[in-house]
């Protein structure tokens, strides 16, 4: 156990934790927008898989990582629109339509993977960019300021999302629609439009989350490579009480525990690996049981809106 508490290992845990948090951050911030407007999108995982696939495929074929990222965002937008049509316009039960979307994304990405790629291939993804000055701080510089561009993007997204939600008219409308769509509608806010925007935005960010895995962090595409990360992202939104900053702390906590268990395995500390893998998930269940602040739940979450109905 003592080998865990050396400086290089602790810095290593910090470094991998920040990397691991990246896909969760994109997906969970996007989901925060959707849920603040009252739509629960459980299909994040399927969108991530489709984003991961399309990002990888386009990056591999074109040799341009930015085009790959664009493709992933575009795929996410399409999947988000699909979820909007089903959940907002057709008022489907959101928990189930999300599972449908997840199955669809899982199946389609696997199908495309098998027909177009055939097997696991890897590409060289976004390489780390060292930030001048800050990156030269001994020890911490490398850990905090020597990441690839998608990692920085994920952490910059947090204050941005916070600002949009709390300081702009659009954010106010999103919160109003999620809290009391009827009142918002009375005041002339287009409930349907706002929900379409947030769910589509959430889809786009979930697509980018998938691409952050396939072209920036792991640099390959594999069948079901997210293995349920999208569901964890949804849980993180609850954990963070629907606030971007809270979501970030949740993502970091989850990822640090994940990094810890990876290092425990790397260092060969005698702890059954299956038990170690379970750690972050057990933590999520405990955190959701004891820490989640339910008073913050958007009042209209999962409730479709129809004019002239109670």
């Amino acid at each position: 156990m003592a080998e865990l508490f050396t400086l290089p290992v602790l810095l290593g845990i910090l470094y991998s934790g920040i990397r691991l948090a990246t896909p969760y951050l994109y997906a969970a911030i996007g989901e925060t927008f959707a849920q603040r407007s009252g739509v629960l999108n459980l299909g994040v995982d399927g969108i991530m898989l489709m984003g991961a696939y399309s990002g990888f495929y386009v990056a591999m074929k074109s040799g341009n990582l930015w085009l790959g990222l664009l493709a992933a965002a575009g795929t996410g937008i399409l999947m988000g629109l699909m979820m909007s049509v089903v959940s907002v316009t057709l008022q489907a039960q959101q928990g189930i339509s999300g599972i449908g979307l997840q199955l669809f994304g899982l199946g389609l990405s696997t199908l495309l993977f098998k027909t177009t790629l055939g097997g696991v291939k890897s590409i060289s993804g976004f390489s780390p960019v060292k930030i001048p000055l800050l990156g030269d701080i001994p020890g911490l510089g490398d850990v905090l300021f020597n990441h690839n561009v998608l990692v920085y993007g994920a952490f910059l997204l947090v204050p941005l999302a916070n600002w949009v939600l709390n300081r702009t008219t659009f954010g106010l409308k999103v919160r109003a629609v999620g809290q009391n769509p009827k009142a918002a509608d009375t005041l002339g806010v287009n409930v349907t439009l706002i929900r379409y925007i947030t769910v589509t935005l959430g889809g786009m960010l979930a697509g980018i989350a998938g691409a952050s895995l396939s072209i920036a962090l792991i640099n390959l595409f594999q069948e079901n490579m997210t293995s349920g990360m999208g569901f964890i992202a949804v849980a993180l939104v609850y954990f963070g009480s629907w606030r971007p900053v809270g979501v970030m702390w949740g993502a970091l906590l989850f990822s640090f525990v994940n990094a810890l268990q990876l290092w425990i395995q790397v260092l060969g500390i005698p702890l059954p690996s299956d038990l170690a893998v379970m750690m972050p998930y057990i933590l999520t269940i405990l955190a959701l049981t004891f820490a989640a602040n339910r008073a913050q739940t958007p009042a209209a979450l999962t409730k479709p809106f129809e004019r002239g109905e109670n």
């Binding site: 039960q93 669809f104 899982l106 389609l108």
Partner: protein, 191 residues
């Protein structure tokens, strides 16, 4: 629990030693995997129907689901019945896993549930959340999964196509509910 023979052979999927033949569920039709677990499933579906529609506890479970506030007002301990149904649901999921082990695989192996849990949710929805409706729905989904595997072997179309189709089926079914609701509302208004 890992089978020493498997470690030697080096199949990369972790699996246990096979179970003794005495505990296997009986195969109903030779040279297929149809086993007595299927009969058990049908019996359980009927029992659940009786439980939910013909007993007080079942009545309360349904009431809690339909209107928790009214149930609480009527003196039904809502969280107790919610916890009870989750526990029973867990028991049935466990039964599903054990039937798969005892009837089909005859051993424990990694990833053996193969996403059946999610398809199970879909099948429940397809059966209109009714235990008897779950019977044809499960047969349909089982058929789709088996057909997908056959298709993969026969014409090399990846069985993932079936997953994607299942997803679309779910999306269409939940989306179509809006017309049923609208019809019900119209009937309400017109008396």
């Amino acid at each position: 629990m890992i089978d020493p023979a498997e470690i030697e052979a080096g199949t990369r999927i972790a699996q246990s030693a096979p179970l003794p033949q005495q505990v296997w569920l009986t195969r109903l039709v030779p040279r297929t995997t149809l086993h007595s677990g299927a009969i058990l499933a049908i019996i359980m579906a009927i029992l659940v129907y009786i439980f939910l529609w013909r007993t007080t506890i079942g009545y309360r479970i349904r009431a809690v689901g339909l209107n928790p506030h009214a149930s609480r007002y009527a003196g039904v301990p809502v969280s107790f019945y919610q916890a009870l149904s989750l526990i029973l649901g867990g028991a049935f999921a466990g039964l599903a896993g054990s039937v798969e082990v005892l009837g089909v695989q005859h051993r424990m192996m990694e990833g053996m549930s193969g996403g059946y849990g999610f398809s199970g949710i879909v099948a429940a929805l397809f059966g209109q959340l009714h235990p008897l409706g779950a019977i044809p729905a499960s047969v349909l989904f089982g058929g789709l999964l088996v057909g997908g595997n056959k298709m993969q072997r026969a014409v090399q179309v990846p069985s993932a196509l079936i997953d994607a189709m299942l997803g679309l089926v779910v999306l269409f079914v939940v989306s179509a509910n809006i017309w049923a609701r609208k019809r019900a509302r119209r009937r309400e208004i017109n008396g």
